[in-house]
């Protein structure tokens, strides 16, 4: 043990040595932030306090660059939109009332940087973290999903990152027994070096079981339970969101530690069951997960959300590494831990439940009274280490009163040129052979090919409630086995659209996600998001960000569904080059009986009529065609029309309720050609498509106009369905028939491609790259 290791900085010591140098810069704090901490405390912080503030005031935890923009979500959420919302932005995860006494909570979070450093563990612990967020709301996690983005599919580093990320997500989620019901796999040059690993979790609970993270009630005990605390990810959080990524040195002269955490999904599975038993027995007053920023975050947030006072005996924390300092214990990001506030008379029963599950649980503190003056200043969090005070701070200043930046915003000067560079002059396929080749080329391209290589590594069956998952447009799980009530979820974002027009691009992400949920027959209810962007210190990136937030919020207001939560990940960039702005949007819908969900594949009944809903315009800016065939990005993205999306959604839900629609697939990247082929391959049946007369086949097949879906309607229902569309002003076109005998997809007058050939093209790409 070195002298440095054994030295513990106390408050007394801090008062006695006001001028001692502190490594605040290495911890990611700026001069003025450090000065502000001194001002709050009226002295220099102790090492432990400095660790707490630095980690909690990091971009990742404090949202210091995004806060001023995110407020716009609240400002645009009307009371009516809030009517189904039981908890919103600010809680661990948003909660919505889905009817029959059920509430559902869902959230997406990023684990981008750790997954680049160590793909398997980084992605695995991303799943672990989001699942604990959901548990902290009192819910049982019921499904996970994983929107992913990587560099070019054939890049060398993608061969390292993608298989690791997929195995990490699969391993952790599969071991937890949570079905993976959806996600995305997108490839783009800008994600090389900045992969995006976003993890989604959905949980369900009875409305009356909602638990919010509060530490109220003087004398209540603070119990840390789950895994022991080690040296994992010390300082990770501040490193995560800081530009000095990768060179954080923890205090105390310890050798450099890896900023990654290793997860133990088994411990988390046991923790889930243990938590649910605790909730069932009503043993918990407040609960908080330990994620980024570990105990620093859990204690300061619990305390400031309650009556403001908390006392912690830090030496009580069960450790798994030797000689850990108080600062290290407070910043450790060891996984699979939770913190609960429990009334004294329930402590024994709490401990008994933990013992049943063999979960370590320890009383580490209690809720204390605060004076009026303390309350006004942000409460009191008092932490001792073997009798010496190492932290004595107002917790609100740690958890909620971090710095707020109004960063410079500027529309990049290059934006005009980008928008002016329209795809009109690109060479288009004209002959039948060229069109055929283009269909196959797009089908096999990395962004459009089958995701089975990824999704076959995820358990989608466990819990026995999965009604739809890959390759359907949305994932659907049953929540109530008696009534059949369930929820559907989809996440989407086309970063190229957002790059061309951040405001409308975000709306387009919302529109696609909304559409994916409604084509399954569910009614969209609420929205979550994960904002992945470059450096907030770049005014151009901040412009993208602020535009995207506004677009998403305005879009939600137009659709009447609230944003219930989200996550921001900045600094996704290599040198000066930022990733495509990627506001991943997740829409959650409700379906009152999952038995009437609409599948994506054709062929439930032979001879179904295929109807194209919506209007096709020539819209190829940012399209998959321009990207795959010409490596082109420019022009404007497709126009977004949320009223049209809403109408389309209503038509689909009505079609599902009345049994008029047997399959539906939305049109998005790759346009009609891609949608037809996918629905045929998924349904394992042939189809014949007649392109409407007088239209340009290329535009009809590859344009990416929004608010469109392809539906299969039994012949007996055709009249009723089209009458309904006409009556409600929904544009529709009869575009083909399902033909099981054909064994091919025929685009009449152009080409007929056998299903086998289509399947080989669609399914071959990822195995060839990653096996």
């Amino acid at each position: 043990m070195t002298a440095v290791d054994s030295y513990v900085d106390t408050v007394d010591n801090a008062v006695a040595t006001p001028d001692q140098d502190q490594p605040y810069k290495a911890l990611g704090l700026k001069d003025d932030e450090y000065a502000r901490i001194k001002e709050i405390l009226g002295r220099r912080p102790t090492d432990a306090e400095l660790a707490m503030y630095s980690v909690m005031w990091s971009e990742h935890c404090s949202y210091k660059s995004s806060k001023v923009h995110l407020r716009y979500f609240g400002e645009t959420t009307t009371d009516e939109m809030k009517s189904k919302m039981l908890a919103g932005i600010g809680e661990n995860a948003g909660v919505v009332d889905i009817g029959d006494g059920w509430a559902v909570t869902f959230k997406v979070e990023s684990h981008n940087h750790p997954s680049y450093v160590e793909p398997h563990q980084g992605a695995a612990t991303g799943v672990g973290g989001i699942v604990r967020d959901i548990m902290a709301m009192g819910a049982r996690p019921i499904a996970v999903g994983d929107p992913l983005r990587f560099g070019p599919a054939d890049a060398e580093d993608t061969k390292r990152v993608l298989p690791g990320v997929v195995s990490g997500i699969g391993h952790y989620g599969n071991c937890l027994g949570l079905p993976n019901i959806g996600g995305e796999v997108v490839f783009d040059e800008t994600y090389l070096g900045n992969p995006l690993v976003n993890a989604l979790c959905v949980g369900a609970m009875r409305v009356e079981d909602l638990h919010l993270a509060h530490a109220s009630g003087t004398g209540n005990k603070v119990i840390l339970f789950g895994a022991t605390t080690g040296l994992d990810g010390i300082g990770g959080v501040s490193v995560l969101a800081s530009e000095s990524f990768g060179d954080a040195e923890s205090g105390g002269g310890r050798k450099k530690l890896p900023a990654v955490q290793v997860g133990d999904p088994f411990a988390e599975k046991v923790l889930i069951e243990c938590c649910l038993d605790l909730f069932k027995a009503d043993l918990v007053t407040g609960i908080q997960d330990l994620g980024g920023a570990g105990l620093s975050c859990a204690t300061s947030e619990l305390a400031s959300a309650g009556d403001g006072g908390m006392r912690v005996w830090l030496e009580q924390v069960p450790l798994r590494a030797k000689n850990m300092t108080p600062a290290e214990i407070l910043s450790s990001e060891s996984q699979e831990r939770m913190c609960a506030v429990v009334t004294p008379e329930k402590v024994d029963a709490f401990m008994a439940v933990c013992a049943k599950w063999d979960v370590t649980a320890t009383v580490i503190g209690e809720v204390i009274d605060v004076t009026e003056e303390e309350a006004a200043n942000g409460g009191r969090l008092w932490i001792t280490w073997h009798g010496n005070t190492v932290v004595d701070v107002p917790p609100r200043t740690v958890a909620h009163e971090g710095p707020v930046y109004n960063r410079p915003i500027e529309r990049p000067s290059t934006q005009d040129a980008l928008v002016a560079n329209v795809p009109d002059a690109l060479k288009r396929p004209v002959s039948a052979d060229e069109l055929r080749a283009t269909i196959l080329q797009l089908l096999a391209s990395p962004n459009l090919c089958s995701r089975a290589w990824v999704t076959d590594q995820y358990d989608r069956y466990v819990r026995g409630n999965t009604v739809s998952s890959q390759p359907n447009d949305s994932g659907t799980v049953r929540v109530d086995e008696e009534t059949g009530r369930g929820v559907a979820i989809s996440t989407d974002c086309n970063g190229r659209y957002v790059r061309l027009d951040p405001y409308n691009g975000a709306k387009l992400a919302l529109a696609e996600s909304y559409r994916n949920v409604s084509v399954g027959g569910a009614v969209p209810l609420a929205v979550t998001n994960c904002m992945n962007f470059g450096s907030p210190e770049d005014p151009g990136v901040m412009w993208q960000f602020s535009q995207a937030v506004r677009g998403l919020a305005d879009g939600c207001a137009e659709l009447g569904i609230p944003v219930t939560g989200g996550n921001v990940s900045f600094y996704n960039q290599t040198g000066d080059v930022a990733i495509l702005p990627t506001p991943v949007v997740g829409v959650l819908g409700v379906i009152d009986d999952v038995a009437r969900r609409i599948p994506t594949g054709f062929g439930a009944e032979a001879g179904e009529t295929l109807i194209l809903l919506g209007e096709t315009r020539e819209e190829l800016g940012g399209s998959e065609w321009a990207h795959v065939v010409h490596g082109h990005l420019g022009g404007r993205p497709p126009a977004v029309d949320l009223q049209a999306e809403r109408l389309l959604g209503e038509i689909l839900v009505a079609g599902s309720r009345d049994g008029m629609v047997t399959a539906a697939h939305d049109l998005s990247e790759g346009g009609l050609a891609q949608a037809v082929v996918e629905a045929a391959l998924i349904g394992q049946t042939g189809a014949r498509i007649f392109l409407p007369e007088g239209t340009d086949p290329f535009v009809t097949l590859f344009s990416e106009s929004t608010a469109r879906a392809l539906v299969a309607v039994p012949r007996s229902e055709e009249q009723r369905f089209t009458d309904m569309c006409t009556a409600r002003g929904q544009a529709w076109t009869r575009i083909g028939v399902v033909d099981p005998e054909l064994g091919a997809v025929e685009f009449q007058g152009i080409t007929s491609i056998p299903l086998d050939e289509l399947r080989t093209a669609w399914e071959g790409t990822l195995p060839a790259l990653f096996d």
Partner: protein
């Protein structure tokens, strides 16, 4: 031809859930006196005599182990 052994172990400061699971199971099975268990990987390579130590080092660090979370030891046994 030589046989080379590479043992790869989780770094000391990194969680080793596998080792812990074994350590916890032992007393349940009636075995006492084992205070700690760590579990790693054991590779046996049949190696041409021309392959030098630097190459083995590279193989171990780039393919057989993940330096972010693991350490390794190389031994030539014959």
């Amino acid at each position: 031809m030589a046989r080379v052994i590479v043992d790869v172990m989780p770094k000391q400061e990194i969680l080793d859930p596998q080792g812990q699971a074994v350590a916890k199971a032992l007393p349940r099975l009636g075995f006492s006196g084992i205070s700690d268990v760590r579990q790693g990987k054991h590779f046996e390579l049949e190696v041409d005599d021309l392959v030098d130590d630097a190459t083995l080092e590279k193989i171990a660090s780039s393919l057989l182990s993940n330096p972010v979370i693991e350490d390794f030891v190389i031994r030539r046994v014959s």
